[in-house]
Symmetry: C2
Subunit: 636 residues, 2 copies
C-alpha cells in the first residue's frame, strides 16, 4: 500500500496515482488532511502528465486549501460518496482544475478511471465546467468568482430565507488584477452576504512571474476592508490555520476575504524554488520532462505515506539549481514564434509602436520585443479593459499600440472598450492568440469562437487570420500603414509554407491548384486539415480540388479572387469560429448570380474540449471529414 | 449686458444664453471663476433645452470643478482662443457633456453658434466625441477614464520623458461602481504617474437615486489609499478649495484622487432639493418643462451678473415642494412601457423569475416589478459584469434571471460573462434597451450597433427584436418555457399595432399584404419607417409592396414563412445594426435556389448622432429613402 498504482495513460505515457481505495484506507487510519493533500498532489501531477498540459504550480499551491475546504463543508465524512456538503465550493481561477479534480476524486465525485482523462474529449475539461457532474460553475476566465458566489447565495436565500450555507470561492492572487473582483465586492456587503468566503491562493506568482513584478495590487487588506469585507490571513499550507480562518470567516457577519499565503509548486522542491530575481516561472503550466516527473513522484509520495518512496531519481532538491537556469522550453515554429520574431523588427522600423500584454508575454510573443524596447512595452496585468482603453488614448496621441492577449479574453472582456476606441477613428492593433477550436484542451473559457462575430461588427475593424509568415508579415506591414483598427486572429499552430511574396486585402492565396471544387481556409488549423484533404483526394482518385487561403476574413474579395473562385462549381469555405459576417458571407454574397455554389464547413455553438485530433474529428473539421464533405457534394 | 441673449433654437424653442463676448467682458472686469460657472450653467441648461434632452443634474454639480480645472491648466488666459493648456482634461462620465461644451465655449473652443447644436446631426454629440475638435477622447460608457488618462500620460512621456503635464479626468461617484475604475488604479502607481489627477464629482446621486441606496461603495478613501493613490477631498463648489486640491495633487509624487463634494443640480433650488427619502431624482436627464426652464434662468442669471434677473416666474425655491412630489414624467406608450407593464405579470405567474438592472430601473422597465417583488429584484449598480455573472449562477441554481441594461452596456461590457453563462447550458434572459440607431441623440456610446453580431455568435443565444405587444409577450412567454439564453433587443419607440394573437420562432408577421416586393423589418424603428414607405408607394402608384416583421432575428425561417417570401421577386431586409449573421443572412441563405433576390438596407459602421429624423435620413433608413431604394430595384 505504500506505492502508488502505475498505469498507462490514454496518451501512452506511464503514470502513477493513488487509487481512491488507497486514499480512503489512509484516511480511515490516519485522519491526516495534510497527507491527503500530498496524495492529491501526486494525482493532479499525474493527470497533467497524462494530458500533456495543465497548470501544476497553482494546483500545488492551492491543494492544502482545497482539501481543507472540502472537509470544512462536509465534515469528517467528506471522503464518502454519500457525503453532504453544507455549502458550495468552486475555484474562480479555474486553472487549478487538476487540483480540483484530484480532490473531487478524493471525495468520491470522480472514479479512478476519470482521473487520467484530463483534457480529453469526453473527459475532464482543462478548466472546470458544469458538464462534469459536481462542478458548480464554469471558470477559467478570471475575475468572475465573487459575482458567481453572490448568485449562488441569492438563489439559496430565495429558496430558504434562513439559509446561510457557506459559499466558498477560491481566487488567485494574479486574478486580483481583474476589475470584476473589485466591482463585485460592494454588493456582497450591501446585501449582507455573511456566508460568502473568498479565499486567495496567494502564491505571489502569476502567469509569467512574481505578482509584484507584474501589477502590484497595493495594500489588499486596506482595499478589502475599505469595501466593508472581513479580512483575514492564514498560512495556506497549515491545515489548522486554514480551518481556523474558515471558522472565523463563517462566524463573522460580513463577507470574508481570506488571504492564504502559499508557495507556488508547493510539495516539490524545484517547483518551489523561484527566487525574487527570476523573471519567468517555469511551472505555471504544461507537463514536465520525464525525469522531473519521476523525481516529483519521489518527493510527493512520502508526504502521503509517511515513508520514503522507492526509486529516488537523483534529481532531488540538492540539484535544484540545475533547473533554475531553464529558459522557457524551446517551441516548434508556430504562428506565435513567427510573431515574436517579427515584432522586434517592426518596432525597430517604427518608433511609434507601443506594445502591451495582459500577463502573457511568452504566450503572445511580446517577450523578445519587451527586452529590446522596454520603454515601449507595458505590462498591463490581467486587466484587459484597462489595457484596451489605455491603448485607445495612446492611439489618439499618435502612437500605434499593439495589444496582446488570448483572443477570447481580449475581444470579449474588453468588447466595449474596443468599440469605444473604434469610434474615435484611431488605430489600435489587437493580437488575439489561441483563437478558435484549437488549442482545445484548456476548455471553453480559452476557445475563442464568438470573437469574429463580435469584431466583424465593430465599426471600422479589419480582421486578419494569417496562415503563414508572408500573410502575417504582409498584413502587419499593411496594418501599420492604414488608418483602421485591425484584429489579428492568431492560431498558435504550425504555419503553412509561404506561397507568394506578399498579400493584400481581398486576396486569395493559391496553395494547391485544382478544378471543380475550391476549399477556402484562414489560419493554419483548418488550412492544414484542408491540405490533408486535398492530398488525400489527389491520391485517392486523381481529382484535385484547389486550396486557397484568405487572410482578410471579413471584407470583400478582389476582382481577381472573385473571378478565380467563380471558375469553380463548388466553393467550400472553412471557418474556425461560429457563424459571422466573415469569409463565408462575403464569398456567398459575391458569387450570387454565378453558377458557383458556396458551402460552409465550420464551427457553430459550444466547441468541444479535448485533444486537437479528437475535437477536429468531433466537429467534422479534420482532413478526413473534409474529404467526406467534398465527396458528398458529388463533384470530385 | 445684464441679460442673456434670447434666440430661437433649431428646434423652435426660445432659449437664453450668454454670448462669449458677454462672458469675456465679465471675466476681464471681475475675474470671478464662480460667476463664470454660473454663466456656463445657464448656457448648459439652454443647450439641453434646445436639444430636448441631456443630463442637467450632473452638468450643474460638475460646473465649478470644470471651470476651475480649465483655469488650472491654462492660467488666467484660459478664456482666450489662443490659450495653451499645460495638460489634458476630459470627463470620463461623459453625461456632463452640456457642462463640458459650455466650458469649451467659455474657453473659445466653440462658437456661440455651436452651443445650441447639442444632440443634432453635425452638431455637438450627446456625450463628448473626438469628432468635435478639442474633445480629447470619446466617453459616455462609464469606467474608462483613468485607463484613458494613463494612455495619454504614457504617450506624453514617450514623446518627452521629462513631461509631467497634468492629465485631469473627471469621474462620477456612481461611475465608481464600475470595476474598470478599480482595475485601472494599480498600474498608475506602479508606473509613477504622478501627473494623473482623478476628480470625482461626488454629488451622491446616480442615475435613479442616491448612491447609498444603489450600491454603497464603502470607504472610498481607504480603497483608494490602499491602491497607493494620494487621496484628497474638497468642496466641489468652493473655487479656492478645488484650486488647493489640484495644486496639492500636482505636487504629490503619487497619482491623486480628489473627491469633490457637490450637489446635484447645484445652482437651481428645486434641482438641489432631493431629500434622503426620495427614491427617484427627477433632474438626472431630460429637458425640463417651460416654466421650470424660465425659473431656472431667473435663478441662474444673478450668479453670473451679480444682479437680480428680469422676469421672476414665481416658481422659486419657496415653491420647491411642488416639484418634489413629481413622479417620473408620464411616457407615451412605447416598447419600454409595454415591458414594464408585462414584467410584473410574468413574475406573478412564475416564482423563479429574478430581475436585475444596472442603475436603470426607470429606463429598462423594472421599477414596477421591483416594487411588487422586492425580494426578487437586485439592484446591481453600474456593474454589468458583476450583474451578468451573478445571474449565471442563479440560473444554474434553477432561477430564471432577467437582466436589464442598455443594449450596448449589457452586451459589450459583459460579453465574456454572457459567453461563460452560455457555456453552462443555463438560461438567462438579457433585455437590452436603446438598441440600434435611435435614440441617436446620446451619441456612439449609447447606440448599440455591434450587439447583434456579438450575441448571434454566442453559443445557444436566441435573439428576439419585437415590434409590438404580441411579439414581445409571445417571445417572453416562449423564452420562459425553453432552455436557451435569449437576448431581447428592445427599441424604446412606439410599438406597432399587434397584427395577430401569437408568434413563434421562425415566423414572419404580415403587416401589409402586397406583391412583387416584400420588406422585412424587426423592431419598431425600421418597421415604422417601412410602414411609411409602403403607404407612400401605395398612394403614389397603386403598387403595394408587402411588409413583414420578423421577431426572431438570428435563426431560420419556418417553412411557411419561407414559402411566403419566395413568392416575391425582391425581398428587402431592414437591419437596425451592423452586418451580422442575422435576418439578412438567414433570408438570403434560405432563398438560395429560388428566383427571389434579397437586398439589405441597414446600418454599417459608426452610427450618426443627432435627432432621430436627421440620422434616419443620413443613413438612408427613413421612409423616403426606403421608397427610393424600392423604386431603384425597379419592380414597383
Amino acid at each position: 500500500m505504500t506505492n502508488p498504482t502505475v498505469v498507462q495513460a490514454p496518451n501512452g505515457s506511464e503514470v502513477s496515482f493513488w487509487r481512491r481505495e488507497q486514499l480512503l484506507a489512509h484516511w480511515s487510519t490516519r485522519r491526516d488532511v495534510k497527507a491527503l493533500a500530498y496524495g492529491c498532489r501526486l494525482n493532479a501531477l499525474s493527470a497533467i502528465q497524462a494530458a500533456g498540459s495543465g497548470h501544476i504550480g497553482t494546483s500545488f499551491s492551492s491543494m492544502d486549501i482545497m482539501v481543507t475546504v472540502r472537509q470544512f463543508l462536509a465534515g469528517d465524512s467528506f471522503l464518502t460518496k454519500a457525503h453532504k456538503d453544507r455549502g458550495i465550493f468552486f475555484s474562480s481561477k479555474g486553472h487549478d482544475a487538476p487540483a480540483f479534480y484530484a480532490v473531487m476524486h478524493l471525495c468520491g465525485q470522480l472514479e479512478d478511471s476519470d482521473l487520467l482523462t484530463l483534457r480529453r474529449l469526453g473527459g475532464l475539461p482543462g478548466h472546470p465546467e458544469t458538464i462534469t457532474p459536481g462542478v458548480p460553475t464554469n471558470t477559467g476566465s478570471l475575475g468572475m468568482g465573487i459575482s458567481k458566489a453572490k448568485g449562488f447565495i441569492k438563489a439559496q436565500r430565495l429558496n430558504d430565507p434562513a439559509s446561510r450555507n457557506p459559499v466558498v470561492v477560491m481566487l488567485g492572487d494574479g486574478e486580483l488584477n481583474e476589475g470584476q473582483i473589485w466591482e463585485s465586492l460592494p454588493g456582497a456587503v450591501r446585501d449582507g452576504f455573511s456566508e460568502l468566503i473568498a479565499i486567495v491562493d496567494s502564491n505571489n506568482i502569476q502567469s509569467d512571474t512574481w505578482t509584484d513584478k507584474t501589477l502590484p495590487m497595493g495594500d489588499i487588506q486596506k482595499r478589502v476592508e475599505g469595501s466593508g469585507w472581513h479580512y483575514l490571513e492564514c498560512d495556506g499550507h497549515d491545515i489548522e490555520g486554514i480551518q481556523g480562518a474558515l471558522r472565523a470567516a463563517e462566524s463573522d457577519p460580513r463577507p470574508s476575504f481570506i488571504v492564504a499565503k502559499t508557495i507556488k509548486g508547493s510539495g516539490v522542491s524545484w517547483m518551489e524554488a523561484f527566487d525574487q530575481s527570476g523573471d519567468y516561472y517555469k511551472f505555471h503550466s504544461g507537463a514536465i520532462a520525464d525525469d522531473l516527473y519521476r523525481d516529483a513522484i519521489v518527493q510527493l509520495a512520502p508526504g502521503f505515506t509517511g515513508e520514503a518512496a522507492d526509486g529516488a531519481s537523483g534529481v532531488g532538491s540538492e540539484n535544484r539549481n540545475e533547473f533554475d537556469g531553464l529558459t522557457p522550453r524551446p517551441r516548434p515554429t508556430n504562428m506565435l514564434v513567427l510573431w515574436e520574431q517579427l515584432l522586434p523588427k517592426l518596432m525597430a522600423e517604427n518608433s511609434e509602436i507601443v506594445i502591451m500584454d495582459g500577463d502573457l508575454s511568452y504566450d503572445t510573443g511580446t517577450h523578445l520585443a519587451r527586452n529590446q524596447f522596454p520603454q515601449r512595452y507595458i505590462q498591463a496585468g490581467i486587466a484587459e479593459q484597462d489595457m484596451v482603453s489605455m491603448a485607445g488614448t495612446m492611439a489618439l496621441a499618435g502612437k500605434t499600440p499593439i495589444v496582446h492577449s488570448f483572443a477570447t479574453f481580449l475581444t470579449m472582456r474588453a468588447a466595449e472598450q474596443i468599440f469605444n476606441n473604434a469610434t474615435e477613428y484611431s488605430r489600435v492593433l489587437y493580437f488575439g492568440f489561441l483563437a478558435g477550436l484549437v488549442p482545445s484542451a484548456p476548455g471553453f473559457s480559452h476557445q475563442a469562437v464568438s470573437d469574429v462575430g463580435l469584431m466583424a461588427s465593430v465599426p471600422r475593424m479589419r480582421l486578419v487570420e494569417p496562415s503563414c509568415l508572408v500573410e502575417l508579415e504582409s498584413a502587419a506591414k499593411w496594418a501599420l500603414n492604414q488608418p483602421d483598427p485591425v484584429f489579428f486572429r492568431m492560431g498558435g499552430l504550425a504555419p503553412l509554407e509561404s506561397a507568394q511574396v506578399s498579400v493584400s486585402p481581398g486576396d486569395l492565396v493559391e496553395r494547391v491548384p485544382g478544378t471543380k471544387s475550391a476549399l477556402v481556409a484562414s489560419g493554419p488549423l483548418l488550412a492544414q486539415e484542408a491540405l490533408q484533404a486535398v492530398e488525400a483526394l489527389q491520391n485517392a482518385n486523381g481529382s484535385s480540388p484547389a486550396l486557397f487561403t484568405m487572410p482578410w476574413i471579413a471584407e470583400p474579395l478582389s476582382a481577381t479572387a472573385l473571378e478565380n473562385l467563380a471558375s469553380f462549381e463548388q466553393v467550400i469555405v472553412l471557418e474556425n469560429h461560429n457563424p459571422a459576417v466573415a469569409k463565408h458571407h462575403f464569398v456567398t454574397q459575391q458569387l450570387v448570380g454565378t453558377s458557383t455554389r458556396v458551402h460552409r464547413i465550420g464551427l457553430d455553438g459550444i466547441p468541444a474540449n479535448g485533444q486537437p485530433a479528437e475535437v477536429l474529428a468531433h466537429h467534422a473539421l479534420d482532413g478526413k471529414a473534409i474529404v467526406a464533405a467534398i465527396q458528398a457534394l458529388g463533384t470530385d
